[in-house]
């Protein structure tokens, strides 16, 4: 078969993650646009159920790379196993979702092949023979069109949400399934991963909140949190925050919203001085009504906002508290 596209399908205990389907959706679009074959790969042990599930999608082949050494993720194990497959299959393009796992080993894998990974892409465009990838730079303030130089294989990772998991096309017939035992050289895996865990104290569950006032670095200092608290009180809302606020210890970690914090979907999300980095947006974009108050009109948070106010939060919040109390009693 002509050298094609490999999609790395991440899974959690044998179930494909959302990221796996998103990567597959990207792979299907690229395979159609570039006229290449499409193969999904997954690593671990006892992957047959996972293979069967992936094989229902429209693709040519699914490959399980199986070894007891791959049961638990390690960057060395995954890099070596996928590298072997790349050597054997000579694909043109390898696609990942830009997850924590891909961040951890995809750059290493690409480097082992002596090639580039264009990471965290939002979309792509084809211009004749050129594949142009569009990715955010400067924390989303700008986008950059980026191209590969030199020979394939090319490595790409797409940001969460760039392709929709529900856009994966089902196949007419199940794809071919190949199970391949992988042998890793002794001493390949030197790191020893432990169990995954959550910090014990999770006092606040924002996932059930009806309304959230979230503060970002625009709040300047912990002494100003009182202002946000009063607004939250007036709205009957919980207080949430972007990561730097929790990093600084101004609010506890369980109030952090985003990819490394909680995912929330309240009826009202009011963002005060939050720029709207992707890692924050993924945690709150399911909110029904989003209000953003930010002094920078170009801040990405306004892209997901229902109502946008460009201005200084310290001037706007005090009258806003009064007006909300008035509106509630009126």
């Amino acid at each position: 078969m002509a050298a094609g596209i490999l999609v790395f399908a991440e899974h959690h205990q044998g179930k494909p993650t959302r990221a796996a389907w998103e990567a597959l959706a990207a792979g299907q679009r690229l395979a159609a646009d570039l006229g290449l074959s499409l193969t999904a790969i997954a690593l671990g042990v006892e992957l047959s159920p996972l293979m069967a599930e992936l094989a229902r999608a429209k693709l040519d082949e699914v490959i399980a790379l199986e070894s007891p050494a791959l049961e638990v993720y390690t960057p060395e194990g995954f890099t070596s196993a996928v590298f072997q497959l790349i050597e054997a299959r000579q694909p043109r393009l390898i696609i990942f979702s830009h997850t924590y796992q891909a961040r951890d080993f995809a750059p290493r894998l690409a480097a082992r092949c002596g090639r580039a990974l264009i990471s965290d892409c939002l979309s792509y465009r084809r211009e004749d023979e050129r594949l142009i990838l569009i990715r955010p730079v400067f924390q989303g303030k700008f986008c950059a069109e980026t191209e590969f130089m030199g020979e394939p294989p090319y490595f790409v990772s797409f940001q969460a949400g760039s392709f929709r998991e529900d856009s994966v096309e089902a196949g007419a017939a199940p794809a071919r399934v190949t199970c391949q035992a992988v042998t890793l050289a002794a001493g390949t895996i030197r790191t020893r991963p432990g169990e995954v865990f959550r910090e014990a104290k999770q006092a606040v569950d924002l996932s059930q909140a009806k309304a959230i006032v979230a503060v970002g670095r625009g709040i300047k200092g912990p002494e100003n949190l009182e202002l946000a608290r009063k607004l939250a009180e007036a709205l009957g809302a919980e207080l949430g925050a972007s990561r730097p606020i929790c990093d600084n210890g101004w609010l506890s970690m369980d109030r952090q919203i985003g990819s490394s914090g909680q995912t929330v979907a309240p009826n009202l999300y009011l963002a005060l001085g939050i720029s709207g980095a992707i890692q924050h947006l993924v945690g709150m974009k399911g909110s029904r009504t989003v209000v953003a108050i930010n002094k920078d009109k170009e801040a990405p948070i306004f892209e997901v906002a229902t109502y946008g106010i460009v201005g200084d939060l310290f001037e706007i919040v005090p009258p806003l508290i009064e007006e909300i109390i008035k509106a509630k009693s009126g």
Binding site: R108, A116, E303
Partner: protein, 259 residues
């Protein structure tokens, strides 16, 4: 333990950025620069490990003339010496070539542990530290939120998505990429700033690093930078603070029906 910290100078967070004339990057002549935020945490972590265990902290950056300022700041905070990878040939390197140059410098410094930030806030590759580990054939781990030193190994707490974590034992030498929030970074003291003036700051070009043109060849290239298109769904509320407050309260009550 001997440690190296790779850090990068990036435009200040609140800098107003404008595109350059051929729209391939931002204009750098009128912006102020600072050390990339996660790199500040990486430096702090190295300084703390040194204070606990003894050893040396070498800071290393690849960048133009202005980047020396980042090194001076790191020396003022307590790093022992600095390496500035500076050469006309180093302009616009991709993550791969940057890592290759850094790897050459790291081989010279011969540390037990390299710390970097998990990504740079300008190009956002999130790759340089990991590629560096591959080039050195060292183990690595990413997005680290705690480091405990043991005999010839480390126990590191790796952040996972959604508030999950994992402890990993990793042998030395190793490369770790550090997540913001791992510690509380210090400020430089006046004494530190004065002491920094006498600390060694070594400047290295591609020849001193034993690199050739081939090894700096880019594997990816930015062809155009642009302002992201706006979807335009937001409804802007304008006026004096009192007016926008009234408008918003009205919208929340009568349109969104959330109060």
């Amino acid at each position: 333990m001997k440690m190296a910290v790779c850090l990068k100078q990036v435009p200040a967070r609140d800098a107003v950025l404008r595109l350059n004339s051929d729209s391939t990057w931002v204009r750098e002549d009128d912006v102020s620069f600072e050390i990339n935020e996660p790199d500040i945490y990486a430096l702090e972590e190295a300084l703390r490990l040194k204070e606990k265990q003894g050893g040396e902290v070498v800071v290393c950056t690849l960048g133009p003339e202005r980047a020396a300022q980042a090194l001076k700041e790191a020396l003022a905070k307590g790093a022992d010496r600095a390496m500035h990878l500076h050469d006309p040939a180093f302009q616009n390197l991709d993550a791969y070539a940057t890592a290759r140059a850094l790897a050459a410098a790291i081989r010279q410094a011969a540390p037990d542990l390299v710390l970097t930030g998990l990504q740079a806030d300008d190009d956002g590759f999130a790759q340089t530290g990991v590629i560096l580990a591959e080039m050195l054939s060292w183990d690595h781990s990413t997005i680290i939120m705690e480091i405990q030193a043991q005999e010839r190994a480390l126990k590191v707490k790796r952040e996972l998505e959604g508030g999950w974590f994992q402890w990993i034992e990793i042998p030395l030498p190793a490369v770790l990429t550090i997540q913001s929030g791992i510690n509380k970074p210090r400020y430089a003291t006046l004494k530190g700033i004065l002491a920094a003036k006498t600390k060694p700051l070594q400047r290295l070009g591609w020849k001193e690093l034993g690199l050739d043109e081939e090894s700096l060849k880019p594997h990816q290239k930015i062809t155009k930078v642009f302002t992201p298109p706006k979807s335009g769904k937001v409804e802007w509320l304008e006026g004096t603070p009192r007016e926008v407050a009234q408008r918003l309260a009205d919208k929340l009550k009568n349109e969104a029906r959330v109060i």
